[in-house]
Point group: C2
Chain length 135, copies 2
Amino acid sequence: VRIGALASAAGTTVRTVRYYEELGLLAGTRTAGGHREYAEADVERLRELLRLKALLGLSLDELREVMAGEAARAERRRAWESASAQDRSRLLAEALTHTEGLLELVRRRRGELEAFEAELLERRARITDLLKAVP
Amino acid sequence: VRIGALASAAGTTVRTVRYYEELGLLAGTRTAGGHREYAEADVERLRELLRLKALLGLSLDELREVMAGEAARAERRRAWESASAQDRSRLLAEALTHTEGLLELVRRRRGELEAFEAELLERRARITDLLKAVP
DNA sequence: TTGCTCCTCACGTCACGTGAGGTGGC
DNA sequence: TTGCTCCTCACGTCACGTGAGGTGGC
């Protein structure tokens, strides 16, 4: 899959993909003609990047830190087959730590959103109360 | 309250406050010496702006549209005393529409966050299952 | 061969950050 | 009078957008 298909599959632009490559966030291979080429896993990775950025408000620098954990995740999958039982539980423990870190970020955000929603609901209640009192 | 106190009360920088003024998002008065001066209501307004931006990912242009509704809200408060019953219910209806618009945005965001959280929980479950199978 | 997509500069933009040099107010 | 905060330029930065001019692949 080439850059245009990748970008639209992830809901972004080719410019963004190129910029992320420049920053080392997403790496494709090149065809003989110099065109970038991507795998299905890269679509998922890009989606994840965009989601972390949009939903959690992370900068691209912060994304790089978080995705260092993601890179380690892919690494883990590759190392899996040839790993000993001891290595496997270590790999899993690392994956667990990484996932729980993300969960923590998501929950904090959700808390903030819910607080805001509660405030809006209260505002609305005050308005509808007044509406009943006025007519 | 002056610009430094306003900024730190809202959790931002003086540069941001000046920039928002430049865009017409937040207007203070000036002292004789040319220093900006703000009321308590401006602290709330700035907090709201920052929250809409951070939690909902709105651009400053979008904030301006949303806050046109907010400006109307302040206007409504001022017009309230001298308003007829008919005007009052119209003012309230507008306030209700505005608040429900915000609620809609917040809920959409919360839905996205919850979907992401569910995915992370599933990932975690898979990892802990594997951890039980390995040792 | 014709379209469409891709490529690399490279300048523009949005939302500020960061000094430079100077003035206001407890 | 001394500190601290404030002021206005104005250039820098981050995360891209947007052409300019040229090449690749069904």
